[in-house]
């Protein structure tokens, strides 16, 4: 018996397996819902809120909410677009994101979303927090100025025993993602490559790599974020 259920996104009839998260179900139906903390194959956390949609009048994160039969989801309404844009602006002002000199520029998901939502000047004042750059690892640089605490590195960069090389430190507004001092020493070239790739911003930079991808060949130079999902 099929587990397919029917639901609507912006009045478009969609189908997906029961239990599928909305963001994935939307993707399968050719609809792009932006994400930052979420990535395929990793248990969703719903921390960045960029994937916010409206379901039965309630704002919910689409990466943590499974589709239900007959569900009606609003994703492209102006109100929701503006909420997402304001979240992106908040992320920008709460860190120190200087795209002009960032190696991830052109391949950065946060920057790409800024372009997608045509963010010109954030509506919130810049926080300019004092944050540090940890360059003590021989393989990577962890720039806290750019970290958005999405947890993608914690969830995906693990040793053979499944231990995360990255971890949270401190609590509340002082929380930061750091490379574990001991496990970090076991980081391989491949892990460093993957950590830089999986970081949605320029917070994890692999050493000795710097700007090796020419302008014109970067991830979002020719295709805006999400454009490959749309049918």
């Amino acid at each position: 018996m099929s587990n397919l259920i029917k639901f609507k996104i912006d009045n478009k009839e969609c189908m997906a397996e029961k239990g599928t998260y909305i963001v994935d179900a939307a993707r399968e139906n050719g609809i792009y819902i932006p994400t930052l903390c979420n990535m395929p194959g990793v248990k969703p956390k719903g921390s960045c809120r960029v994937c916010t949609v409206k379901i039965n009048g309630r704002l919910m994160t689409s990466c943590t909410t499974p589709v239900a039969d007959g569900m009606e989801i609003e994703s492209s309404a102006a109100e929701i677009q503006d909420i997402r844009k304001s979240i992106i602006e908040l992320i920008f002002v709460s860190g120190n994101h200087f795209c002009p000199s960032c190696e991830k520029s052109g391949s950065c998901e946060l920057q790409a979303l800024g372009y997608l939502y045509q963010m010109m000047v954030p509506r919130f004042p810049y926080d300019f927090p004092l944050r540090k750059v940890d360059a003590s690892s021989p393989k990577i640089i962890k720039d806290q100025n750019r970290c958005i605490q999405c947890k993608r590195c914690i969830k995906t960069i693990k040793d053979e025993q499944g231990r995360s090389l990255f971890a949270f430190r401190n609590r509340g507004h002082r929380i930061e993602v750091v490379l574990d001092k001991e496990l970090g020493l076991m980081m391989t070239e491949e892990m460093a490559d993957l950590a830089m790739k999986n970081c949605p911003v320029g917070s994890i930079l692999k050493k000795e790599k710097g700007f090796d991808i020419a302008i014109g060949r970067r991830k979002y130079d020719h295709e805006p974020i999400g454009s490959t999902i749309k049918l």
């Binding site: 750059v133 360059a135 090796d212 302008i215």
Partner: protein, 484 residues
């Protein structure tokens, strides 16, 4: 009554500056100064950043010649990643960088001549300021204006093909370059429809030079005598004495042509050059240590380069170089306005170099980067359009920049610019009660000859204009004029 004249802002220069001229009771000029009043502090805020960010970050000093900063920083980092001191890159890496640099030279010199300086020559130094500008040039001499715009465009397209963007690209990386040139890009520059091809650019560069030579022939006394004073001159030269804008050894000559800095390895520049700070300007005053503050100052830029080099390694520019050198019987040229002449010879040389490089198959190669044993410190020098540019970085064990020192072309020219201002102020303002717009522009013409980039020189961000103030001996402001 003694007075102080202020010109603020100085116009048609890159950056923000002002001039003060002090006049005593008898109308004699007692002191003239060019003050650079902006400050930014790049040397400080690159500290702690990963070293490979420097070429991309520091070039944000400027939107006119960011390529020079980009390449000088990359050359310093070549040393740090063990890729040699300027001549150790792969052929593709070095030649792509050279193409980027000559494209930059071509567009920057074209910008200066056509947009900033040609109004003075076309309409006269004391011409109507309402038309003595690039708009006036476009309305009165449209063909010339179009040439200026298209020459800039050609140079900018070369930069885009090599650096990735026309302004603030990322092409040069420590140890090499991040892309080669495609056959399509090369053919477009060599065989593109007129006027955007290398042959046309050489023709137009020759035309601009001929224009200036005609102007010179008709205004010889003015061009020869305007702010003419002896000085030392410094630039990079190739090991065989040729003009080389990308790499070489550091040479300086005195006003008579005697070598006073003997083709030194610029990694050791701190043994030879020191910088002095003066309280009234954010721009430092460099000088040759051996000759002291009083006698060790020097000029850099087009005039200085053609005084230090023995020859130019492209045929058309070499022919013009010989004519130019004959004007001073082979001795160094100390005529301030001849800087324009020298700049246009360099423009022709840059166009010839671009064509020569485009015909070199090495540009199409795939061996882009080379690295060796990591070093802690590196110095990168390059001849920027405005003169010799120094970038010096030291890194810590974690690959972070812990020290940066930049000596920008305009900084080297600080003392000569001040002397030029003083020279012109004395000759046009002595004994005058009223300061006319024409007199003010004369002072600006002297500054403009150096094509100064005041933002770069103080690593500062600011507005472009210049102000002149007239004060009495008690420092009371008598008159102040601004040009916009």
């Amino acid at each position: 009554m003694s007075q102080k004249i202020t010109i603020e802002p100085v116009t048609r220069v890159e950056g923000h500056g002002k001039v003060t001229i002090h006049m005593d009771d008898k109308g004699q000029i007692t002191q003239s100064r060019l003050h650079i009043v902006e400050f930014r502090g790049f040397e400080r805020f690159v500290q702690g950043r990963p070293y490979w960010e420097a070429p991309v970050l520091v070039q944000r000093l400027c939107g006119i010649c960011p390529v020079s900063h980009h390449l000088a920083a990359a050359k310093a980092l070549d040393v740090i990643v063990g890729a040699g001191t300027g001549d150790g890159l792969t052929p593709t890496g070095e030649k792509m960088r050279r193409l980027m640099h000559y494209g930059q030279f071509f567009q920057s010199h074209a910008l200066h001549f056509f947009h900033l300086s040609s109004p003075d020559f076309l309409f006269g130094v004391d011409g109507d300021p309402a038309i003595r500008n690039i708009i006036g040039v476009a309305l009165t001499y449209p063909d010339l204006a179009v040439q200026g715009v298209m020459m800039r465009k050609f140079g900018q397209e070369i930069i885009r093909a090599t650096a990735g963007k026309k302004i603030h690209g990322t092409g040069a990386i420590p140890g090499g370059i991040n892309k080669n040139l495609s056959i399509e890009e090369r053919d477009e520059f060599l065989k593109g429809a007129d006027p955007l091809n290398a042959d046309k650019m050489i023709e137009w560069a020759q035309g601009a030079l001929d224009f200036f030579k005609n102007y010179y022939a008709a205004n010889k006394d003015f061009v020869d005598n305007f702010a003419q004073f002896p000085s030392n001159h410094m630039s990079l030269v190739r090991s065989d004495g040729a003009l080389d804008l990308y790499h070489g050894r550091l040479r300086a000559v005195d006003a008579e042509g005697k070598k006073i800095l003997h083709d030194i390895d610029y990694q050791e520049y701190t043994n030879y050059i020191e910088e002095e700070v003066r309280s009234w300007s954010y721009m430092k005053f460099p000088y040759l240590k051996e000759y002291g503050k009083e006698n060790g100052w020097y000029r850099v830029g087009p005039l200085a380069r053609l005084n230090t080099v023995d020859f130019i390694p492209t045929p058309l520019a070499q022919r013009e170089f010989e004519i130019y050198k004959a004007l001073t019987n082979g001795k160094p040229n100390n005529h301030c306005l001849h800087t324009h002449y020298a700049r246009l010879i360099e423009t022709l040389h840059a166009a010839e170099m671009i064509r020569e490089l485009l015909n070199d198959p090495d540009l199409l190669g795939n061996d882009l980067v080379i690295k060796g044993t990591k070093q802690k410190e590196g110095v990168g020098l390059i001849e920027a359009p405005r003169g010799t540019l120094f970038h010096h970085y030291r890194i810590n064990d974690d690959d972070q920049i812990e020290m940066a020192n930049l000596i920008v072309s305009t900084t080297h020219n600080n003392e000569p610019m001040n002397r030029s201002v003083n020279f012109v102020a004395k000759s046009v303002m002595t004994g005058k009660d009223i300061i006319t717009e024409g007199m003010m522009n004369s002072v600006e013409v002297a500054i403009r000859a150096y094509d100064p980039c005041l933002s770069c020189a103080t690593h500062a961000l600011g507005k472009m204009p210049l102000e002149i103030t007239l004060v009495d001996k008690d420092n009371n402001i008598i008159d102040r004029k601004k040009s916009h």
